[in-house]
């Protein structure tokens, strides 16, 4: 409904009448900003968040190195955005659905996705839940309520609105949080989603990681407006902008957003201001489009460092623990990587399963023809040839699977 007053001269508005503030709690020194409310995080949850942030950082460093060594075809890091991703996740109910873009592995780490599970996906082996069908980092977990990643940008945003609408009808008091970047927010699907969610009063949290770059395109070339947040007004939606490197601000803001979403069935937009400290992906080199000086300035604002200072000051963490944890995680990454690398690829039959609920006769014929061909040329297809008869030669692949 439009509510308006009359004017009698052509006065235009530019939107500059309103500026959106940034919510901050924790300073870079690890102390609370003056006037900031005391954090709601208790010791145990703070430690769980911090450990997940460290685990994500270690996983990313090691796997990018593995990619550089040629052990892995592709990788993407969450580096610099751990507070935004994990802070938001920690504010949710564990049964809330998360629909991520692709850089949010921290959410999975926090929810308990094991390094083995990460590695199986990264190496596309026979234990990968996705059956080796998608590029590395396209994780998914039904038991952890984390929707399988799909490469097309922003498609997950209207899906989140629909998913949350279903949650509302089911009446279980759950919501969906959807992650996306400030670049993806230019896609039509973003606008479609926010409008539909507002119109249909859907319990969904739209979480924008404004990390400054869409691959090489800086935010200033992505939109003329003051970030993504002002768009919420166009849809009559609650919105908050938050310092994305401030774990306490992100966590608190998302807690409140969840309350609005679940208790009032209203969507909320969160714009987390952060910075992608690493390259877009293993195929990208940021030195071509941004300065080392800029990167250094943001490295000073590292979200992990900030939380660590606060944790130390609280007496909830110390350097010894840090050292032990880092060493343990590094070892674990290497061990799990070695295990996953050695595992064989999925059986050839998985090429045609899951296209439909049942393999169609036509598809079965195509598979049979392919098998006959591979039998004639086994050396040309060494991976597929290993498991032509999976029921005979395939080890029990489901022992660690999702049930």
């Amino acid at each position: 409904m439009t509510t308006t007053r009359d004017i009698h001269a052509p006065e235009f508005l530019a939107g500059d009448e309103f500026s959106i503030p940034t919510y901050r709690v924790l300073s870079q020194e690890g102390t609370l900003h003056e006037g900031a409310e005391a954090p709601t995080l208790d010791r145990d949850q703070a430690r769980a968040i911090y450990r997940a942030m460290i685990a994500t950082r270690v996983l990313d460093e090691r796997m990018m190195a593995a990619q550089r060594q040629g052990r892995l075809s592709f990788y993407m890091q969450c580096t610099g955005e751990e507070a935004a991703v994990i802070g938001a996740t920690a504010a949710l109910d564990d049964a809330d659905m998360i629909m991520a873009q692709y850089r949010e592995q921290g959410a999975l780490v926090y929810r308990g996705f094991s390094f083995d599970e990460f590695m199986n996906q990264l190496f596309g082996n026979e234990l990968d839940y996705g059956k080796g069908r998608q590029m590395p980092i396209h994780y998914g977990s039904r038991k952890l309520h984390y929707m399988t990643i799909s490469s097309p940008l922003a498609t997950q945003i209207p899906q989140a609105a629909g998913y949350a609408y279903g949650q509302k009808l089911a009446g279980e008091g759950l919501c969906t949080l959807v992650f996306f970047g400030e670049g993806a927010a230019s896609e039509g699907d973003f606008h479609a989603a926010l409008n539909m969610a507002a119109v249909h009063e859907v319990p969904v949290i739209f979480f924008c990681r404004n990390n400054g770059y869409a691959i090489s395109t800086p935010a200033i070339e992505q939109f003329a407006a003051d970030g993504v947040a002002p768009r919420a007004f166009g849809y009559r939606m609650h919105v908050i902008r938050v310092d994305g490197n401030d774990i306490l601000a992100v966590h608190r803001a998302t807690q409140e957003a969840r309350r609005i979403a679940v208790e009032h069935n209203k969507p909320v937009l969160i714009e987390a201001m952060t910075y992608r400290l690493a390259a877009h992906s293993s195929s990208d080199d940021p030195s071509g489009y941004r300065s080392r000086k800029e990167e250094e300035a943001w490295r000073e604002k590292d979200p992990i460092l900030r939380m660590q200072r606060w944790m130390n000051a609280q007496g909830w963490w110390d350097d010894d623990e840090e050292k032990t944890l880092q060493e343990q995680l590094r070892r674990e990454v290497l061990d799990t990587m070695k295990r996953a690398e050695k595992r064989p690829p999925p059986a050839l039959d998985t090429l045609v399963s899951d296209v439909y609920a049942e393999v169609t006769p036509a598809l079965q014929q195509q598979l049979d023809a392919l098998k006959a061909h591979i039998r004639r040329h086994p050396d040309a297809y060494p991976r597929g040839a290993r498991f032509l008869d999976p029921e005979v030669s395939r080890p029990d692949a489901n022992d660690e699977g999702e049930s």
Partner: protein
């Protein structure tokens, strides 16, 4: 048995599905209180409430994105795209998301509950953008099912099957027949199989294959042909994806001749796929080249619609040509 037109049959199917399962939701542009621009969803909002039958904003990519999410969550969305011509903003959601949801997640998640209904086809003076038959675009996408009914009885049985099918279904409704096609339709619940063609008439000289509104055209052409003593076997494909090659091949092995017809343009049309498959399977049995009777390779016209359409006379000529080759 009551007589229904195709809209009434579709409305009846939706009513049955919604009454049976509260997870079934119907939505789209003007679908709510108004009941859809063609009235396919009439009275559903009254019966099942605004939460289950509702209008959406005017945004096809949003409608299908929303529907994908609902289906992934476990709901059973029946989303309407007002005209098949306007499905293209949702092309990405359908081709990259709907079709690949189960496959890419290794069956952790699926959108099998999704049915997308869209009126398609010409003959209503709809010009470029209220006339197209886009089935071939989607037929190139593994993971989708595509279904087209030819009459009210088929529409009800196939739509109920589509809604309950474990895979996402694109259900293209021949809008020219919405009110023009009437027939006896059982009031009770029934389903017709997806992926199975139906031999609607047996014959020995030539096989005709079509779907949807084109079946009526085929029937008229066959009437003319039979007057000349040509015995025609007629097959309604019903499902474009997956399609029933066995039934078509079996018929062509018997008749040795095949004419395929659709409204969509010739080049890249689904008739090409059928022709390619059948020549592989029936090569030594073919008595004449497989013929295609289709729209021209132009955008769908307006004033020259009658000339453009593959009408019964064009189909009849193709039959004659095939038999006299």
């Amino acid at each position: 048995m009551p007589t229904m037109n195709m809209l009434q049959a579709i409305n009846n199917a939706l009513d049955i599905a919604m009454a049976e399962d509260e997870k079934v939701l119907c939505f789209g542009e003007d679908v709510g209180g108004f009941g859809g621009v063609f009235r396919a969803t009439s009275h559903l909002q009254e019966r099942y409430g605004k939460a289950r039958c509702f209008n959406t904003p005017l945004v096809e990519q949003g409608i299908i994105g929303f529907a994908n999410g609902l289906a992934a969550q476990g709901s059973v969305p029946v989303a309407e795209i007002q005209f098949a011509d306007y499905i293209f903003p949702a092309f990405d959601q359908i081709v990259n998301e709907t079709a690949k949801f189960r496959y890419r997640s290794g069956d952790l998640f699926n959108v099998g509950g999704l049915t997308i209904r869209a009126p398609y086809g010409g003959g209503i003076s709809g010009g470029h953008y209220h006339s197209q038959s886009p089935e071939a675009y989607f037929a190139h996408t593994p993971g989708l099912k595509i279904v087209v009914p030819r009459n009210p009885y088929e529409a009800k049985g196939l739509l109920l099957a589509a809604i309950r099918d474990p895979d996402p279904v694109l259900f293209f409704e021949p809008k020219r027949l919405y009110r023009a096609s009437t027939g006896e339709v059982p009031e009770e619940d029934y389903q017709l199989p997806l992926g199975e063609a139906e031999v609607t008439k047996e014959g020995g000289d030539v096989t005709l294959v079509g779907w949807g509104a084109q079946m009526e055209v085929i029937d008229k052409a066959v009437e003319l042909a039979e007057k000349e003593g040509i015995s025609c076997e007629v097959i309604d494909l019903r499902s474009i994806l997956p399609w029933d090659a066995d039934t078509v091949a079996e018929s062509v092995l018997k008749t040795g001749r095949l004419v395929v017809t659709h409204e969509a343009p010739l080049t890249g049309g689904f008739a090409g796929e059928i022709a390619a498959t059948i020549q592989e399977r029936c090569f030594l049995y073919l008595e004449s080249p497989i013929m295609r009777v289709t729209g021209l390779d132009t955008p769908f016209p307006l004033t020259l619609e009658k000339e453009y359409l593959p009408d019964h006379l064009k189909v009849f000529e193709a039959i004659r040509e095939s038999v006299n080759y």
